[in-house]
Structures are given as C-alpha cells and as structure tokens.
Amino acid sequence: MYRHSTASAQRTVAVMKRYDLIVVGAGPSGLSAATEAAESGMKVVVFDENSRPGGQLFKQIHKFFGSKEHHAKVRGFHIGEELLREAAAAGVEVELDAAVIGIYENKEITVRKAEHIEHLKGDTIIVATGASENMVPFEGWDLPGVIGAGAAQTMMNLHGVKPGQRILMLGSGNVGLVVSFQLLQAGCEVVALADAAPTIGGYGVHASKLARCGVPFYLSHTITKAEGSDRVTGAAISEVDDKFRPIKGTEEHFDVDTICIAVGLSPMSQLLKMSGCRMSDDPKRGGQVPDVDEYGETSVTGIFAAGDVSGIEEASSAMIEGRIAGARAALRMGFISAEEESARQKSFSADLAGLRRGMFAPGSKGRMPEKTEEGLDISVNLLTKGYLSDDEVTKYPGVVKKKGLHPVIECSQNIPCDPCQDACRFNCIKVGNDITLLPQVDMGSECTGCGMCVASCSGQAIFLVNEDYDDRSASVTLPYEFLPLPRTGDSGFARGRSGERLCTAEVIDVKTSPAYDKTNLLTIRVPKDMAMKARFYEPLPAREADA
C-alpha cells in the first residue's frame, strides 16, 4: 500500500496528473459514462486493461432486444462501433493496455501502462469494470478443450477461429443460449446443452433458435466428467435430483472436443472494495456488489459504479447506467446545472425502467411465473425442452389462422421488445405502448410479404406463412443466418420446432437485403399440413445434393 507523509503528499498532488473524471473500463457502461461526462464539458480519461475497447460488446453478433432507444434489432458490435464514434466525437481519451491496479484515498489511482505505473487523481471516478465468468468444477475441467463461453466468442467472433468441432455447452442462461447459436453460425456442432437447473434460464426464443437446428436440451443434468488425457475427447453428464446430486444410472456420454462453461457472471468489484465503498453480497445482483444509490454513487462521495460491476444485467442497461453516472458526476463537479441534470436523469430513468420489466426483469429473478401478463399459460415445453409444442403455439396472439400470406409470431414470453411493431408499415403487427406485451397479428391488414418483420425480430421468432400457396403446398418464410446460403431450387428437409425432420422442402425464394442486416429470408415450399410445423430448413448433405 502506498502511504505518503503529508509533506510529500502535497508535493505529489502538485505534480500529479488530474482529471475531472476517471473511468475504469471501456466497455459499454464505461464508454457511455465517459461520453455523457465529456459532452458536459468534463476532462475525462478511460482506462482499459485490454488492447481493444468495447468490453464484451464487440463479441455480440446477435441483434439486441428492447425498443428503439435501447438499440433494438441492432447487432452488438454495431452498437459498439457507434459508442466509439460518440466517445471520439465528445473528445473522450481512451487509454488501452492500461490496467488500473489500485484506487486509494482522495480518489487517487495507480495505472499500469506497459513497463511503468502512473499515479493519478480523479475528482470523480466511475468504476465500470464489468464482470467475470463463474466456474463449475468437475473431474477433468482443467484439460485443454474446456473453455469459458466468453473464450468461444473471442475466438469465433474476434479472430475467426473455431473453438472446436463438437461442443458441449454447460448453462442455459442467455449467454449459453446465444453462444451456442454463434457456435452453429461459426460452423461448429453443438452436440448438447446441459443445465443442472430444471428450466431454461434464458429467453425462450433464444432456445427455440437452437432447438429447431436440432440441438438437444438436457435440463436437470450436470457434467460429471471431462474425458481425455491431454485434451478433451469426451464428456459424461448425469441427471440430478432436487438437491442437484447426480442420479446413478442416468449417465450419458458425448464425443466432444470442447466443453464450454456458461454458468453465470460475477461482478469484478475488487477495486471498489479497495476504495472503501460499502459492499454487500447480493446473489440477485451476482455476488459482491457496492451499495449504490439510484445514480450509481457508492458510499464514497464521487465514486460511482455502472454496468455489470454494480449488478449483472445486460449491455443495454449498462449503457444507460453509464449515462446516469456520467451525468451525476458532471453535476457533482458543477459542469451542469441541477435542472439540466434532473431532466437528463428523468429520461435515462424512463429508458432503464423500460428494460427492467417482464418475465426476466432483475426483480423477478428466481420467481417462475405460470402465466403471461395476458393470462396465457407460460409454455412448460419451452422452458424444459426449448421449443413450443405444435398445439401450444396457437394460443399466442401472434399466431393466427388467415387466408393467404400472413406473419406468424411465435413469441410467448413477456420481454420488453418491439422492433416487429415498427417493422411493418401496413399495421399487421401490434405490440402497443407497453412493449412487454406479446405482439398480436392484425386480422384485417394485408401482408405484402416484404419480410421486414422476419428480419427485424431479434429472437428470430417471426415467420411468413401462406397456407394457400397452391393446391397442395404451403410456403414458409423463415430467418436464415447460416452459410452456405441455400439457392432457389435447392432441395432439403423442413425441420419442426423440436428440430425433427418433417418432410422434404424446396427452396422457392432467398432474399438478401442490407435492410435485413444479414438475416436472410428463406422461403420453402412444404405440404399444406406442414404450414404450422415447418420452422427450419436443413440443406441436403453435399454428396446427396450433387447426386
């Protein structure tokens, strides 16, 4: 620990570099905080220990949920690019390869840069260091081939390298679900997804994307062993009882070369603890978190926490929390007036509240609702197997029977999200002002088949169905984000929601457009009775196709 005598402290302060605001972490919340503060006139520096900014954001290649103000239907890495542009425009200094290794009294920090350290002062500090991955140990978990979910994303999405060929995913929260889909997109095979919990922890729509590709879900299962001598060659899982103990005789084995761990995140809050902030252990927020007020200020005046470090949530909420803390820091140091700050906070607070609603809201953690806000049954099949069953699907307001072409929205959980509503210019889709409500398909409106709704749904849960395509066939237009992209005239199989092969299918249209942002629209022709079952297309294996 550094301890200066009073005389030398004064001397050091006189020459020490000082910033109005020091932000620790250049992830979504850190960059947002810095931009807000810099736009208010503060001299801001952001330190990040990594060599690239953006935290985990640039690894997120899926489209975000929420509403327009939450960057809905925009892919994570595009949001990251936008954040960097805003920060640069506001004059924010971002220093990379600069690890803040200590926060001391009087908001002094030490930063390690390359081969030296620097001792600096911030009038205010915002700690936005994010979270680290949780671990679940098992026999053989130290073998090469066992990796974190973040590692899989880094390899695939930043460096273009496949993490492996055959993967077992552990964890069914949004991270496990999203990364599993990204593994499929990278050309890997996800052999199974296992979770010791009895129900899938993440969004049903994320699970459904996997289920229809044939990925099996093993809920109430835990991994018992990673096999191999110098690398993973296989894995064994077992069913567990209600005390999470493996049940004898239920072991299943998979041939895999990679085991991916996605069992949750914990705030990386050690710097806050060191700075003297009051901390508490809050399982709902992910572990050791600082006590903060609604503006992110800790028990130490002028030190704030924003983003996952103050409670595990998502990038969307992290960005708003960053703005909230940035505005408050600006007020603290007199850069903006109380009225101005109050107006901004009102707007931020409304945006944040908009996200924190519905089935997966932070306040709802641990509680499993049985009915949606509309009073419809929550699908148990979706929660345990990852897909809506054929007879369940028709209960939801987005699934209607209509003559001719119409959207079918298989959205069955209350999540704040509404890009589908904005996508349709012909008023076919309505969510309403409360964007947590399930989307409804309007019976009176005419669908033009533009496909914008299909491409805009971040959960890939919207399809265009025409049961009257011709005498014997129906057409189903589905979102397709894989390579190789099928071509009109190709033949393959139609898969149902559970991933089972239903029938042969002919590709009758493939649409690509910049407006769809890489979500291609694939239209297949299937027998009429498959119209409400066929939800994915599997191309024929190369050899069969050439025959």
Binding site: L143, G145, A151, N157, H159, V161, Q185, L485, K518
Partner: protein, 118 residues
C-alpha cells in the same frame, strides 16, 4: 493433428454475420522448434488453435496439460515461453514474424533447460 501449414477447416473462411474477418499478413514463426504460420497481429493462442495445438504448458506440481481457458488474458492457463520469456499470456500476445514460442513446463522450457534466446 498439427500441420505446419494453415488448416483452413479450423478457421472460419466466411462468417454469415461478420463476413471475412480481417487478418494481417501471413508470417512464419517457431513453435517448439518447428516452423509454422500465423497471421501477424492475431493472438499467438489463436494461431496455435488454428494449427490444432491444444496443449500450451504442463503444470509445475502435477505435470498436467493446460491450454486456452478464458482467452482474454485473465486465467493465465495459456501461458507459454515466448522469445525466452516464460508466463507469457499467448491469448493476448500478438504473432509477429520470427517469434519463438515454446511449450512451458512448470516455468521453464522442456527438461528445465535454458530457453531459446532470440
């Protein structure tokens, strides 16, 4: 299987969302005495992964193999001897032409021998 040359099946040639991921120029470097290839600027660990290399080191106490675990420079499982420096996190250290990468045994090169100097 380790191939001296790039095994393209381990690299994603074209990604459905990201397209072609930008890479630096192809360069040669040394891995345990063999000449291999990687892209300048990418993390050493990624280049090794694309070559099929899974084991980066053997632990000091129990001689157990370790490889990439977190891939973001935090867990230190991927460390190797790079240009004579042990405990170098290969997941955040970039490939450069001519670097010398060695499997780490404990904290030394094999058999506790001297590290290859640059």
């Amino acid at each position: 299987m380790i191939g001296e040359t790039m095994d393209n099946d381990r690299r994603i040639a074209e990604h459905p969302v990201l397209g072609t991921i930008e890479k630096g120029r192809l360069v040669s470097f040394s891995f345990d005495g063999r000449t291999v290839e990687g892209y300048e600027g990418e993390p050493i660990a990624e280049a090794l992964k694309a070559l099929g290399v899974m084991v980066h080191r053997y632990t000091a106490k129990k001689n157990r193999p370790r490889g990439i675990f977190c891939a973001i420079g935090r867990c230190t499982d991927c460390v190797m001897i790079v240009n004579g420096v042990p405990n170098t996190r290969t997941c955040i250290t970039p490939v450069q032409e001519g670097i010398i990468v060695q499997t780490q045994y404990g904290v030394s090169a094999k058999d506790g021998g001297s590290h290859e100097k640059i």
